[in-house]
Amino acid sequence: MKYIDEFRDPVKAQALLGEIRGLTATISRTRTQPLQIMEVCGGHTHSIFRYGIQQMLPDELEFVHGPGCPVCVLPMGRVDDCVALAERPDVIFSTFGDAMRVPGSRKSLLKAKADGADVRMVYSPLDALTIARKHPEREVIFFGLGFETTMPSTALTVIEARRQGIRNFSLFCNHITIVPTIKAILDSPDLRLDGFLGPGHVSMVIGTTIYEFVARHYHKPITIAGFEPLDVLHALWMVLKQIAEGRCEVENQYGRVVPAGGNPRALAAINEVYELREFFEWRGLGSIDHSGVRLRENYAEYDAERKFGVPNIRIADPKACQCGEVLKGVIKPRQCKVFGAACTPETPLGSLMVSSEGACAAYYNYGRINAAEPLADVDVDA
């Protein structure tokens, strides 16, 4: 396929891998621990597993799968809120597909649908607006989630709803923002990361200069990366080169999509509709200051939280779950006590097992190549 196959060329991959091996060997001479590079984005995690990139890398180089899967970091209480909204008889609750299976404390949206709630899977928030136009007698709620990648489209949908005078549409806003989250990870005391592959499509919206603090304040190199496998290897090579040369900079591998200043029109839409929340609860990471957004007062009539008095349920993460430690790179998915035993894609305990972009689901689905050994008893106490 044109413009795709070029980014999946195995010959070019071998050339890059040769360079990566060389750089890793040079850097590792003065180290005892393996190099840890965090890919922030769930899309990167997906590519790494889908193309089998981890196994192509030297042992001294590890990916740490970051918090950039919006479905994975959604706390159980928010899913319960969704279910509560969806179960209102006057409501049509619309959502992206992969949010359907995320477990709440009582049930997932998929189960709520089976139990009679009118839950509809859409491919764009504008589809939800169309449903609202077709069903003026019902309240249509769109479950807005995701980072800055999906924020502009929900913001524009709200603006469009106002323009068309549609009053039975509202947004249950669970959008989160990436920068405070990277900061929280960098501030955690048990951090061992050596560098970052920066988010690709988030950066398409917010630009690259916003990450300067990572290099300047925390002295970690970061390279904004695309999602094709050669993008990932290329960006990895760029980060390693920074480490080898003792540099800490923000570099942009995904220049064909990401401009330094981001997308001003998308940012304007975000700014028009949303404001920062004081804090937002993350699955596995706890509460992070200024990490979520809500609708501004000016758009209150489109805010499902204000319109319906969302119960705002708070549920602690299951005790056995170690999603937080996995998200921070402290442990690998397989080292979690419940991985592959109590927590599987069929019955996910932690949300990292739910989405195909979640580190645990990716490990479970794609990562068991050498698993002649059964899953449950692999280094659980490491």
Binding site: G97, D98, G146, A372
Partner: protein, 355 residues
């Protein structure tokens, strides 16, 4: 002498209604008119034309084809009813014919039961029944018995079809998912994922446009050609719901072997690849309705491939991988990029990714 052979079609009932109503399921004249004018008129064979409560099939005739009866049933509830490349009728006949054929059986007789929603256009039903007849003729099977039920509006979605089928397995042919052995070759008969993609596009929720038609087709002729070339086919299954990935996992688990496939060897249309890229779907899990996965000994592979390519339903046949000893019970994909990953059974429906 077969009395039924002389029973000529008798068009006692003419169906004049444009839409199905509850009286078409009541057992009275309206139902009789529906059965005769829609089903008997189209399927037209002595057994059905006799309008008995059952079809009677000569055991001696069956025994001429082999030594075991193959028997299967499947229910079809597709939405939309019509899509590029087929409709619920083509699926209902091809699906059951293929389930029979995967044992090596020669499919012979089908039943056809329908559940009709009150208000259904009779013309829609006629179109579906005509499709069934066309595919039945193509596969050389007769639809010899059936049933109709009508339910109130909302109690069913337009039209559901169940077909059951019987066929006869030739003596000496034993095909089973548990017979894959290390060294065997994995073969498919052509491009994958067309049906799943055609349905996704036909549902029109994606605003995607692509020229992809369902691959729906009966595979009994192809299987007969394969068996003629190599009676000792180890495993055979049609890759419907869950796609090729699911069938391969079933083989790997039933035979307790590993299966390694090569991404670069998978036959995929550009349109299907494109739709999968956009939606974040994996074509290995997309449904097919005219594709089979065969496992044969390496020594037989070329012969089987040649025989397949000579048949219209197998012109795109290729080997996509091999059976290995390990990892037992698992399917591994060698990515075109040079890495490897596990191809597991799907947990639920494939859901499009958020971003």
């Amino acid at each position: 002498m077969n009395v039924l052979a002389h029973a000529a079609p008798h068009w006692a009932g003419r169906l004049n209604d444009a839409r199905i109503n509850m009286s078409h399921g009541s057992g009275g004249r309206a139902m009789r008119a529906l059965i005769e004018d829609v089903f008997v008129a189209a399927f037209d064979n002595p057994s059905l034309n006799a309008l008995e409560d059952q079809a009677q099939i000569s055991l001696a005739d069956l025994a001429r084809h082999g030594d075991r009866l193959a028997f299967t049933t499947d229910t079809f509830v597709v939405d939309p009813l019509f899509f590029p490349g087929g409709d619920i009728g083509t699926l209902a006949v091809a699906g059951t014919v293929n389930d029979l054929a995967m044992s090596g059986a020669r499919p012979l007789f089908l039943s056809c039961s329908v559940v009709l929603e009150e208000g259904l256009d009779v013309d829609i039903l006629r179109r579906v029944v005509a499709s069934m007849k066309q595919v039945a003729d193509q596969a050389g099977v007769a639809i010899v018995t059936g049933d109709t039920k009508v339910v109130e509006r909302g109690a069913a979605d337009k039209l559901f079809v169940n077909t059951a089928g019987i066929g006869v397995v030739p003596s000496g042919v034993t095909i089973s998912a548990s017979q894959a052995r290390p060294g065997d070759v994995i073969i498919v008969n052509g491009v994958l994922g067309d049906h799943g993609t055609a349905i996704l596009i036909a549902r029109n929720q994606l605003a995607l446009e692509a020229d992809v038609a369902s691959d729906c087709q009966p595979l009994d002729g192809l299987v007969a050609a394969m068996l003629a070339a190599c009676p000792a086919i180890h495993c055979l299954r049609d890759a419907t719901r869950g796609g090729v990935a699911t069938v391969l996992n079933e083989f790997a688990q039933a035979s307790n072997v590993g299966i390694r496939i090569r991404e670069n060897a998978l036959p995929l249309r550009e349109e299907v690849k494109g739709a999968c890229e956009i939606l974040g779907l994996d074509p290995l899990y997309l449904a097919n309705e005219g594709k089979l996965v065969a496992v044969v000994a390496a020594a037989d592979a070329d012969r089987v491939l040649t025989a397949m390519r000579a048949h219209p339903a197998g012109s795109g046949a290729v080997a996509i991988g091999e059976v290995t000893e390990r990892p037992a019970g698992m399917v591994v994909l060698q990515t075109g990029f040079g890495g490897e990953r596990i191809v597991d059974m799907l947990v639920g429906e494939q859901l499009p990714r958020i971003c």
